[in-house]
């Protein structure tokens, strides 16, 4: 019996995917485990594997085509088999104007570690079209839909919320009546639901800024990439929902820089950032109260120091996580960060490599920035923004000296971390960097 292969859910924030390349052509034999195609998600390019065996009867979405998660991309069956019913039953057009994941819940640590997460939806396996969570192996197997069962859009309670804006009926009506677009708005109701007060607030501000604004003459409206849309959404959520407070210190990097120079001369490629990641990991061990994430169900105490490293990409930003960095040497961290950054630039990161975590480090020192403030990447509860190491005047034992110094600002989620706790964490980071041999190599 012919089966339809659906666009798989390959990352927690994915709502649609683009077929980068077909590895098979119509008429080719397909074996279970074959990589049928490559799919570009908002974060990476991953393989779509076949589950069943047969012949690739029809490529529904050609290379370059974009469809919503759960929509059919190909038909596999026996040669000559009639699969017309599968084509007519299933929506093949790209999802109209994909909405960002408004309330994309911060992945639970278990999911981040690639463990199986129970789906709350009660959909039967026969009708579920997409895996409930990013699961291992990351090239998530595509669920097959039997031809006998009419394919329908994913409604298993997982992919749907990601594809629509949660909003009250009243908020939707108000938005409709006033010509507002609710996409991209994060609401103040449960689960980010947009409610009346959010729309009123928006109307009071004169409506959403960007949508509906025609570009002025000579300007160009660049369509949002999936990644840019998700970044926008998540940052708005973080700034709106996470009460940030900020702590800034100046760190004397004289010894750290000397050590680094020495190591460099020995052939090591350790960067200042690697030292900072290691310092953060050890500081989190010394101040475990700071290694927590706020959740609605309770405070999640992390037992490992999973430190994210913000990596700038050409068209966005991603924060891969160095797991259990407290158990790794600076050299190991350095090697791992290099690999992760490379994979990030090639968009090959797996969701478990960039989700979860305790805190993150964002470094703009290489651009000569003296100091800045970073936005927390939930569910992490803090982020360290570090500026450039520069020669600055400093008072040392009553004398003015020129020292290599660096500014560091810790942004904390006040729901999880109080001022004193954040200050302790920052003090430990400073102490470790100022006596860098304690970092261990």
């Amino acid at each position: 019996m012919a089966v339809s292969i659906a666009m798989p859910l390959l990352s927690p924030t994915m709502t649609e995917g683009t077929i980068a390349r077909w590895n098979k052509k119509e008429g080719d034999a397909v074996k279970s485990g074959d990589a049928l195609a490559e799919v570009e998600t908002d974060k990476a390019t991953l393989d779509v594997e076949a589950y069943d065996e047969g012949t690739l009867l029809k490529i529904v979405v050609p290379a370059g085509g974009k469809v919503a998660v759960g929509a059919p991309i190909a038909i596999v069956g026996k040669p000559g088999e009639d699969f017309a019913a599968l084509l007519t039953a299933a929506p093949t057009a790209p999802a109209p104007a994909p909405a960002p994941a408004p309330a994309a819940p911060a992945p639970a640590p278990a999911a981040a570690r690639g463990q199986t997460v129970q789906t709350p939806a009660a959909a039967s396996p026969a009708t579920r079209q997409v895996p409930p969570q990013p699961v291992k192996p990351l090239t998530a197997p595509t669920r097959m839909i039997q031809a006998a069962a009419p394919a329908r859009p994913a409604t298993n309670g997982f992919s749907e919320p990601a594809a629509r804006v949660r909003s009250s009926p009243l908020a939707r009506r108000m938005a409709r009546d006033s010509g507002l677009e609710l996409r991209g708005i994060s609401g103040s109701g449960p689960g980010g639901r947009v409610v009346k007060r959010d729309v009123e607030e928006l109307l009071a501000r004169g409506g959403p800024a960007a949508p509906g604004v025609a570009p002025a003459m000579g300007d160009e409206l660049i369509p949002l990439s999936n990644m840019r849309r998700v970044i926008a959404q998540r940052l708005v959520e973080a700034k709106r929902n996470v009460p940030h407070f900020y702590l800034t210190v100046e760190i004397d990097m004289e010894r750290a820089m000397a050590l680094r120079t020495e190591l460099k001369e020995g052939g090591s490629g350790i960067t200042v950032n690697d030292l900072i990641v290691r310092a953060c990991a050890l500081a989190l061990v010394r101040v475990p109260q700071a290694n927590r994430s706020f959740t609605e169900d309770g405070m999640l105490q992390h037992h490992a120091s999973d430190v994210g490293v913000a990596v700038a990409l050409e068209d966005g930003l991603i924060t891969p996580v160095v797991r259990s960095a407290e158990q790794k040497t600076v050299s190991q961290i350095s090697a791992e960060v290099k690999t992760l950054a490379e994979r990030a630039r090639n968009r090959k990161l797996l969701p478990e490599e960039y989700t979860g975590g305790s805190m993150a480090v964002s470094n703009l020192g290489m651009y000569g920035v003296d100091e800045f403030i970073a936005v927390i990447n939930p569910p992490q509860s803090c982020i360290l923004a570090v500026g450039a190491v520069a020669e600055r005047p400093a008072a040392v034992a009553g004398k003015l000296e020129v020292r290599k110094r660096m500014s560091a600002t810790l942004s904390c989620d006040h729901r999880a971390i109080d001022g004193a706790t954040g200050a302790k964490l920052l003090a430990e980071i400073k102490a470790l960097l100022e006596k860098p041999l304690a970092l261990g190599f």
């Binding site: 009250s168 009926p169 009243l170 908020a171 939707r172 009506r173 103040s188 109701g189 449960p190 409610v195 009346k196």
Partner: protein, 326 residues
């Protein structure tokens, strides 16, 4: 305006209507010589005689059936059931005969009768005496079900019931009999099937009836101190339901809490929620919340009895929940 008890208001309605219409007579256990188990019929036997205020034996099925027969041949009986819990024995007469006689006789017969008595929680009378049974009667087409919460509504609605051409189930409450309120002297007829906004407000609609209007009003008073204005809608009648009044209120406030003393499954409240979500979907800013009695038989234990039905605190918490605050 005189302030009288709920039971006195009912007594006034009966006396005034019996004086006006000689076809009205009262029948039930202890309604005459004893002046009524809850003194609603006090003084009526003395005033109108034994032929119009008839003490019956303890046989609900019998005297309820007798009343229905009498109504079909031209009289207007008021059948007092000592509590609606006991009227379950006469359920067949009420729902299979009274409710359907007009329909099944093609309009040749009708049944102008009022069945009245208390329903709902008592004072440690345990599970067989403390059941809120309005849904049981509201279920049947052919019956009107009236649930007054104030002395004024009790009088005005009972007078209306006594002028109806079809059977009316009139549900009072043991706990309300001593409640006092202002009631007009003389003619006061409140049409059956009209809800009343007991307290206007702009933020949340609380729909209630019968005894639950009191926790609702208490919660509204408390919440007003926090700047939350609750609109309290008293249904007064649960069949027919005055949905236009409920919907108008929900369209104004965009949020709704339904409070009932009855159990949650297949209750009158569930019908109201159904109508609100269907008719006012685009006006809702939050899912409708329904507060009910705990889904167990009423306990005898006093503390547990107090925890059984929704309280003012429960209502206040539900109001905050639909407002997404607190």
């Amino acid at each position: 305006m005189p302030v009288i008890q709920y039971r006195e208001a009912l007594n006034q309605a009966l006396r005034e209507e019996m004086s006006r219409d000689p076809n009205i007579f009262i029948m039930g256990e202890e309604v005459g010589a004893y002046d009524g188990a809850f003194k609603v019929t006090q003084g009526l036997m003395k005033e109108f005689g034994k032929e119009r205020v008839v003490d019956s034996p303890i046989s609900e099925l019998g005297f309820v059936g007798l009343g229905i027969g009498a109504s079909m041949v031209g009289l207007r009986p008021v059948i007092e059931v000592m509590t609606w819990n006991f009227a379950i024995l006469a359920m067949d007469q009420i729902v299979n005969n009274a409710a359907k006689v007009r329909y099944m006789s093609g309009g040749q017969l009708h049944c102008p009768i009022v069945f009245r008595g208390p329903t709902g929680a008592g004072t440690q009378l345990s599970s067989q005496h403390s059941q809120m049974l309005e849904a049981q009667y509201a279920y049947f087409p052919g019956l009107k079900v009236v649930t007054p919460g104030t002395p004024r509504d009790a009088k005005g609605l009972l007078k209306a019931a006594l002028r109806e051409q079809d059977p009316v189930v009139f549900m009072e409450s043991e706990l309300l009999y001593s409640v006092k309120g202002e009631v007009e002297t003389g003619e006061l007829v409140i049409p059956i099937g009209q809800a009343e906004v007991k307290r206007p407000g702009e933020h949340v609609t609380v729909v209630c009836w019968h005894r639950m209007i009191y926790p609702a009003l208490e919660a509204a008073t408390k919440l007003a101190q926090e700047g939350i204005e609750v609109e309290v809608v008293d249904m007064r009648t649960v069949r027919p339901l005055d949905l236009p009044t409920v919907l108008a209120s929900v369209r104004k406030t965009n949020r709704c809490v339904v409070v009932e003393e009855a159990w949650p499954i297949a209750s009158v409240g569930s019908s109201i929620v159904d109508a609100v979500q269907r008719e006012a979907f685009d006006d809702l800013d939050a899912p409708v919340i329904r507060l009910n009695a705990k889904d167990v038989p009423m306990p005898y234990n006093k503390k547990l009895e107090g925890m059984y039905a929704p309280t003012a605190d429960d209502v206040a918490a539900a109001v905050k929940k639909v407002l997404y605050i607190g």
